[in-house]
């Protein structure tokens, strides 16, 4: 471990995979899909059925530090942030608040409430609320986490679609490495399963077709893939300088060893393998690793035709044909958008701890064009996993790769 390393000392998530770490591990081990069919019938729209991965999370009884009504995603964010602080045994009262930061990602923060408020105004003709602006503002999750933790070092929100929380984590890593802060609450949240938002995604023709069973709809890297399932959830990590962790006697759950972000500069939605190749190589360079050092990749793997094909090419180029074990867990928890990067990095962190590399549910027939070692069927059990990578490739062209290493 490098002298100025940044370690992960706690984490938590909520998603369709459950609300506890035990549920999360079990769902990954069993490749249990949280995907269900949602019937959407809106006036003026053709009715359709969409695959969605809803979380059992309930915000009942959870009150924001600001006392402002919380968007569902904000409530999820606050909940996982508190759980991650507890998991890390971070004593906030003993933490120098000016050196504590919050770095949070979200693709469509506030969208759930914004949609509901608009419905109330336009359809139900109810008056709007004095707190509507602060409930729906994109930095509401970071703001509430900052109020809860009294973080004074930074409170930053990142909106880079599917890469949002990966970028939030990576930028916090740099903030710690530069010496600006010692410790950060990082992650992302997303809740967008309203009829209108699902209709917007459906209109884009990126959602998976349901043939018979919704849990079989999302098929990453499969020859018959048709798109993704929309998910909802949140994940939080506590990351801190190794020195800070040592001073407070915290256990390190992994070293955040590599990060890179770049942009394709090419197309609003169409991914490009070249940018992905560069971002993975940049992250390896930062970590001081060779491609052969990586034992597992949690792919972006959205199960769209173009997305998976671009990633298959870029991973094969960096790691060699079938050079590294790869899985996409999006067929289990759905596309978590702003929360995707952090929850998928948690999959990597759990793999370092448990040696379980989750399989890619529904990748029954690997696309024959792809020279990838996709974990299919059962989860793979490995010993001595040292380094794992998580990829996030976003609409807008933002790419991010994160590497976690055993300590």
């Amino acid at each position: 471990m490098t002298a100025n390393g940044v370690v992960v000392t706690g984490y938590a998530q909520v998603s369709a995979l459950g609300l506890t770490l035990a549920d999360f591990d079990q769902a990954l081990l069993d490749a249990r899909s949280g995907c269900q069919a949602l019937d959407v019938a809106l006036v003026g729209q053709d009715p359709f059925v969409a695959p969605v991965c809803a979380s059992a999370f309930s915000q009942a009884g959870l009150i924001a530090p600001s006392k402002v009504p919380m968007d569902r995603a904000t409530a999820m964010a606050l909940s996982v942030a508190k759980a991650a602080v507890a998991h890390a045994d971070l004593q906030l009262d003993n933490t120098e608040r000016e050196r504590l930061g919050v770095f949070w990602g979200s693709g469509m923060a506030g969208a759930y409430s914004f949609d509901n408020f608009s419905y109330a105004l336009y359809v139900e003709h109810k008056r709007t609320r004095p707190t509507s602006v602060v409930t729906t503002m994109p930095n509401a999750p970071a703001a509430e986490i900052s109020l809860f933790s009294q973080a004074q070092g930074a409170s930053l929100s990142y909106a880079c679609a599917c890469a949002s929380s990966s970028v939030a984590i990576g930028e916090a890593l740099y903030a710690i490495k530069s010496g600006r802060i010692d410790v950060a609450i990082v992650g992302g949240s997303e809740s967008m399963l309203t009829s209108a938002i699902v209709a917007n995604w459906n209109a884009m023709r990126v959602l998976a077709a349901i043939k018979s069973d919704a849990s079989q709809a999302c098929r990453p890297f499969d020859a018959n893939r048709t798109g993704f399932a929309l998910g909802e959830g949140a994940g939080a990590l506590i990351i801190e300088s190794q020195a800070h962790a040592q001073r407070r006697g915290a256990r390190a759950l992994g070293l955040l060893s590599g990060y890179a972000t770049n942009c394709d500069g090419h197309h609003i939605t169409q991914p490009q393998a070249a940018g992905q190749v560069r971002v993975m190589r940049q992250a390896l360079h930062m970590a001081g690793l060779q491609p052969s050092d990586i034992g597992y990749i949690n792919a972006h793997g959205t199960a769209t035709s173009a997305g998976d094909w671009a990633e298959a090419q870029s991973v094969a180029e960096v790691f060699g044909e079938r050079g590294v074990a790869v899985s996409s867990t999006k067929s289990l928890h759905g596309h978590l958008l702003g929360a995707g990067g952090v929850v998928e990095l948690m999959v990597c962190l759990r793999a370092l701890e448990t040696g379980v590399l989750p399989s890619t549910l529904n990748c029954d027939e690997l696309d024959p064009k792809m020279a990838l070692d996709v974990i299919q069927g059962q989860a793979r059990h490995v010993k001595g996993l040292r380094h794992a990578m998580s990829n996030s490739f976003a609409f807008g062209g933002t790419n991010a790769a994160l590497i976690v290493s055993a300590v």
């Binding site: 600001s66 006392k67 402002v68 004095p130």
Partner: protein, 83 residues
């Protein structure tokens, strides 16, 4: 059995604004219960919705200093009688 207006307001304060039930009294000043100018307005909106009425400004100025829970409650009781 219909709840008393005071109990409805008390429940709103505890369930939506996290106010400690032991602090909720008629003479409690709302800003001293942890509500600021924005969340006080939110509370009054929520109270008005709960009773299906709108409190006109001439009956109560929500920005006045020292506004108590009892004062809001009295206005609501008075308005409910006149409905």
């Amino acid at each position: 059995l219909q709840k008393e207006p005071f109990d409805v307001l008390a429940e709103l304060l505890t369930s939506q604004f996290g106010v400690d039930a032991s602090l909720i009294k008629r003479e409690a000043v709302l800003t001293e219960l942890g509500l600021d100018s924005l969340t006080l307005m939110e509370f009054i909106f929520a109270a008005e919705d709960a009773f299906g009425l709108r409190i006109p400004e001439e009956k109560m100025d929500p920005t006045q200093a020292g506004l108590t829970l009892g004062a809001i409650c009295d206005v609501i009781i008075e308005m409910k009688k006149s409905v």
